[in-house]
């Protein structure tokens, strides 16, 4: 318990010390609570600011129009298509490799030196600033491999960026599969791969999918690596192949924020609202999957 029995005489210095300590304890709790409220208040201010700046600008025309020098006619269509396209290609590149790597580390690697080295390396990669991946993409994909400023170069860059996150979350999903399932499969004479393919992966799939969506929803908000690895900032066309030049929503928003005119700032806020809607719907799918998973697990 945090309280001491009250002392008889209040003039007693010991009693004063106790009263002071109790006061300090309450005061400390109040300060901590205020700090939390300030953090939550900042989130509230952020949401209020963007909704009040951007909601009036949001319309179907805004979503389906092309960028323009006139703020009132500008829209986000090429950026929206670019974002969705980039994320799909990123997923196609990162998911098979990431899941395969996670299976190796979780099911095959064990405690060997090689596996531990790879593990350490992945933890480190997860903390490398995203802008560094942009430089890697520029040097490797855009220039050295000659992909130019294309969807493929951008998506490859983002794929390397999300790979550590995909691997870490997939490993967690695999770890949640009980070992008895594997042993049962071995006992029936299945090989290691048969066990993984027919027993472990089906059980782990919802968990893996949840992690994948969360990783990709982080990638959809990334700006800096794509600016460096060759996205264009003013796209008047939507990308139609993996070799097309492209832009994405966050870069379009950045472009509008950086202009001095207030009308463009409203466009930026409206663009943020679209980006946030995209993010929220991806997260909603992830939560839905997680719920389905836990219900199945309980049944």
């Amino acid at each position: 318990m945090s309280q001491t029995a009250p002392l008889a005489r209040t003039g007693d210095p010991a009693a004063r010390t106790v009263a002071w300590r109790r006061f300090a304890d309450v005061a400390f709790q109040v300060i901590a609570l205020v700090v939390l409220l300030v953090a939550l208040g900042a989130l509230g201010a952020l949401i209020w600011d963007i909704v009040s700046d951007g909601a009036g600008r949001l319309s179907w025309d805004f979503v389906t129009s092309f960028p323009s020098r006139r703020a009132s006619q500008a829209g986000i269509w090429p950026a929206l298509v670019g974002s969705v396209f980039i994320i799909l290609v990123t997923a196609l590149l990162a998911v098979p490799v990431g899941v395969a790597a996670a299976i190796y580390l979780e099911e095959y690697g064990g405690r060997s030196l090689g596996a531990r080295l790879i593990e350490l390396n992945i933890t480190n990669l997860a903390a490398v600033p995203s802008i560094i991946y942009g430089l890697l993409g520029l040097g490797l994909f855009v220039r050295m491999l000659g992909m130019g400023r294309s969807v493929l170069a951008g998506a490859s860059t983002l794929a390397l960026l999300v790979l550590p996150v995909v691997i870490l979350s997939t490993r967690e999903a695999l770890r949640a599969v009980p070992g008895s399932l594997r042993e049962g499969s071995y006992a029936l004479g299945a090989t290691k791969w048969q066990t993984i393919w027919y027993q472990v992966l089906p059980v782990a799939t919802p968990g893996i999918l949840t992690g994948l969506i969360l990783a990709l929803s982080r990638a959809i908000g990334e700006t800096a690596p794509l600016i460096i690895a060759g996205a264009v900032t003013f796209a008047t066309f939507a990308p139609d192949s993996i070799w097309s030049p492209f832009t994405v929503l966050p870069i379009q928003i950045f472009n509008w924020v950086s202009r001095p005119q207030v009308e463009f700032h409203a466009n930026a806020a409206a663009g943020i609202l679209v980006l946030v809607l995209l993010l929220l719907s991806m997260n909603a799918i992830a939560i839905w999957l997680r719920d389905r998973y836990t219900k199945k697990g309980a049944a």
Partner: protein
């Protein structure tokens, strides 16, 4: 082959198993390839850069004007900009993050924790370009009401916003560290008549010290590498100053500035972004390694 019909498929499946394992191993190896790729790309361009500019001028020069007709390549103004913004961010994120971690770990009921933690995670999930918008168009005008001398681009506003962005990282890692402290230590402290605050500050926090420090260091590394908030709200004027009210330029914002123009490959401007990137990589990598080492040590203490 002269093998019996029953052995044929087993043999094939053995070969298949072998191939699968190799494919999986190569996928895992790609992460090592990424690290090597980063180091290689940065090194090649940095070496080419250092052939034209001496390393002494690069690391100790106090003027950064690579786009002028008489270019100067002293990186210190960019380092100063990065340091200044990061310090402001840390001044916000460390005390607030630590206090909310103490509150969540030691005081809050399960109900409060269940509501507050996801909301804090939401703060961490906001795209950084949104924070940039918030810093430039909300926080800066707000601050200008109290500080009329504050420039439209400055270090203090992106610093504060970056601090709010990093707060959830500090808070959740520090909370994890404090929850890792065995209950017995707390109970011993209560038994001696200590209040909750005394227990939190004098027993739990010191016991979780290496874990909390690891969280702080990771937060510093995140602040140094953060790009969009400063690219939008801090300005593009590299200057060697610690005045938070004037425009500055960070290392990351410089890389973005050059990338927005179409810089031809092989020019010295093109190489500067890799040289600055190399410095950024070395700095954050060093911090990440120290942080990982501290976390490992903390885990051993209470294993």
């Amino acid at each position: 082959m002269s093998l019996g019909p029953a052995r044929e498929p087993r043999r094939r499946s053995k070969r298949f198993e072998f191939i699968i394992e190799w494919v999986l191993f190569l996928s895992a190896l790609l992460s090592i390839g990424t690290t090597i790729g980063i180091i290689l790309v940065l090194t090649v361009e940095t070496v080419a850069f250092l052939r034209e500019v001496s390393i002494v001028e690069f690391l100790t020069g106090t003027e950064w004007t690579p786009l002028f007709s008489m270019p100067r390549f002293g990186v210190l103004p960019l380092v100063a900009g990065t340091t200044l913004v990061s310090l402001i961010a840390m001044a916000v994120a460390l005390p607030m993050g630590l206090l909310s971690a103490i509150y969540l770990s030691e005081y809050a009921s399960d109900g409060v924790r269940r509501v507050v933690k996801p909301v804090l995670e939401l703060l961490a999930g906001v795209p950084t370009v949104v924070y940039g918008y918030f810093a430039l168009l909300f926080v800066t005008p707000l601050l200008q009401r109290f500080l009329p001398a504050l420039s439209g681009f400055n270090a203090v506003s992106p610093g504060i916003v970056m601090g709010i962005m990093i707060l959830p990282l500090v808070s959740s890692l520090a909370e994890d560290a404090m929850r890792g402290v065995p209950r017995g230590l707390r109970e011993g402290s209560y038994a001696l008549g200590a209040t909750k605050m005394q227990t939190s500050l004098r027993v739990v926090v010191p016991a979780a010290f290496s874990g909390i420090t690891a969280a702080f260091i990771l937060a510093v590394s995140r602040a140094i590498g953060e790009t969009m908030i400063v690219a939008i709200a801090a300005g593009q004027q590299p200057r060697l100053t610690f005045d938070p009210t004037v425009p500055v330029e960070t290392m990351t914002a410089y890389i973005v500035q050059i990338s927005l123009g179409d810089t031809p490959q092989g020019t010295i401007e093109y190489r500067t972004i890799f040289a600055v990137g190399m410095l950024l990589f070395i700095g954050t990598f060093g911090l990440n390694v120290v942080s990982a080492w501290l976390r490992e040590r903390f885990r051993e203490e209470y294993a």
